[in-house]
Symmetry: C2
Subunit: 244 residues, 2 copies
DNA sequence: AAAATAGTGTCTGTCAGACACTATTGC
DNA sequence: GCAATAGTGTCTGACAGACACTATTTT
């Protein structure tokens, strides 16, 4: 009979043909009144010169865990360290990558457009924001990234009406009007102002910050910031006008 | 300059130290008026003799995709081929498995207790249903399976009030009273009958089946069955009495 | 008739949705 | 004052939640 220490001694990890393990990122922002996603043009095989979601192979020597791998990819492309990050799903099969059976963990990130400096990183020819139309982007993508992007967009859109997630698309401080505008862009329709404000404030997902924002020939607006609970909070009912 | 075919030709998949890739299953049923989860006692190292969620290493030679791997594990333990299956999350880090950096994709399955014959499968000393109390089970589990189970239970509980998922815990045909009872068990509280029936029927997630069920000295109940849309449907508002 | 569960009808408080109104700034 | 946006108040219809009622079976 063998104990666990002895078992591990003789265990050969390379005896198993493991799948390729990767992380892919759908990085969203709101820019020019549109939801946009960060894509880069692949500079290496496979799918060289095609547009793709940022991502890549998990490095078990560098990444302490899955989320660290995701943050590493994100930081490399945007320079942003700690945006809102959420795991969407994992896909895995023998056909999605010509290199063999591969498994990809998909994350989405939300970040404010200001302060982001896109850098190519190695292996990427270009990186740029592309507007999201309906559930995707109007260009073919490498691998199964079209499907991955659709899944990420649907997850995001599905949560908009029930959570305070869109607040992460704005900077530290923002006005309720700005927040409402982001909701409207994500939902693709107008929201009734009074109901929106009541529900956001009642939910306690934002707190007022000192100071007001003055932009033009009009009444200045109170500034707010996210509260800690903001991301996880589920509104008891729908937030925006109209169901779903 | 190399084209893609030439690239793949010289590409050596074993040059990368990939994580161990596994699938774990939280298999739920309702038995004896309680939510129960299927556990098995490990017959091999590591964590020999500890209770664990069914699962194991993905076999890229056998499993065409991730879900196939999950169904293979499920079928091996229960003999059930096609229950409700949903991906919950993926965890990965260097410390959760003594064999090395490992990555586990967690699924949960819902199935009716009738007709399930538990079999050990190889590598398992015993398999049995264990009641779920609060967010877990009252025994230590192997690896990080306590956390995995908690995640699965929370996902299930979180969706109960907004979806028709609990219908998958019953057989082909069931009465509305039986369905209501399952909801009550999962939510841990009574639901008002009239409201429950109105919302289930209005949502159109079940359809009446021919025949009625007669059990005792009382009025027989109409039988219903799930409709195709049942699993994905989101109720516009909460289904059960009381929020969340 | 009694017991037991199936199934329906009605009332009420709450809240989403609509809309109109007041407030505060620059010009 | 006028334009423009911030922010509030009020009415109404719909529905969740509570509760009481009717219906159908066996014993």
């Amino acid at each position: 009979m063998m104990d666990e220490a002895a078992f591990l001694e003789q265990y050969d990890i390379t005896a198993y043909r493991a799948p390729i393990a990767t992380v892919d990122m759908a990085i969203f922002t709101v820019l020019e009144e549109q939801l946009q996603v960060l894509l880069y043009r692949r500079g290496e095989h496979p799918h060289k010169d095609r547009w793709a979601l940022p991502g890549g192979i998990i490095d078990v020597g560098v990444d302490v865990d899955l989320e660290a791998a995701a943050r590493r990819k994100l930081h490399g492309k945007t320079g942003v360290a700690s945006p809102y990050l959420e795991q969407v799903a994992t896909v895995g099969n023998g056909g999605r990558d010509p290199r063999g059976w591969s498994l990809s963990v998909l994350y989405f990130a939300l970040l404010p457009a200001e302060g982001v400096t896109l850098s190519h990183g190695w292996g990427a020819a270009q990186a740029q924001w592309r507007p999201v139309t309906e559930d995707g982007v109007d260009m073919p993508l490498a691998f199964d990234h079209t499907e991955l992007l659709t899944a990420a967009v649907q997850r995001l859109r599905g949560k908009v009406a029930y959570t305070a997630l869109p607040a992460h698309l704005l900077g530290e401080e923002f006005t309720l009007s700005e927040l409402q505008r982001v909701y409207e862009i994500l939902l693709g329709r107008k929201i009734e102002k009074s109901a929106f404000r009541k529900r956001i404030l009642d939910a306690g997902v934002v707190e007022s910050a000192a100071g007001r924002k003055r932009t033009g020939a009009n009444r200045p607006a109170q500034l707010y910031r996210r509260r800690q609970s903001a991301s996880s909070h589920l509104f008891p009912r729908n937030l925006a006008t109209g169901d779903l």
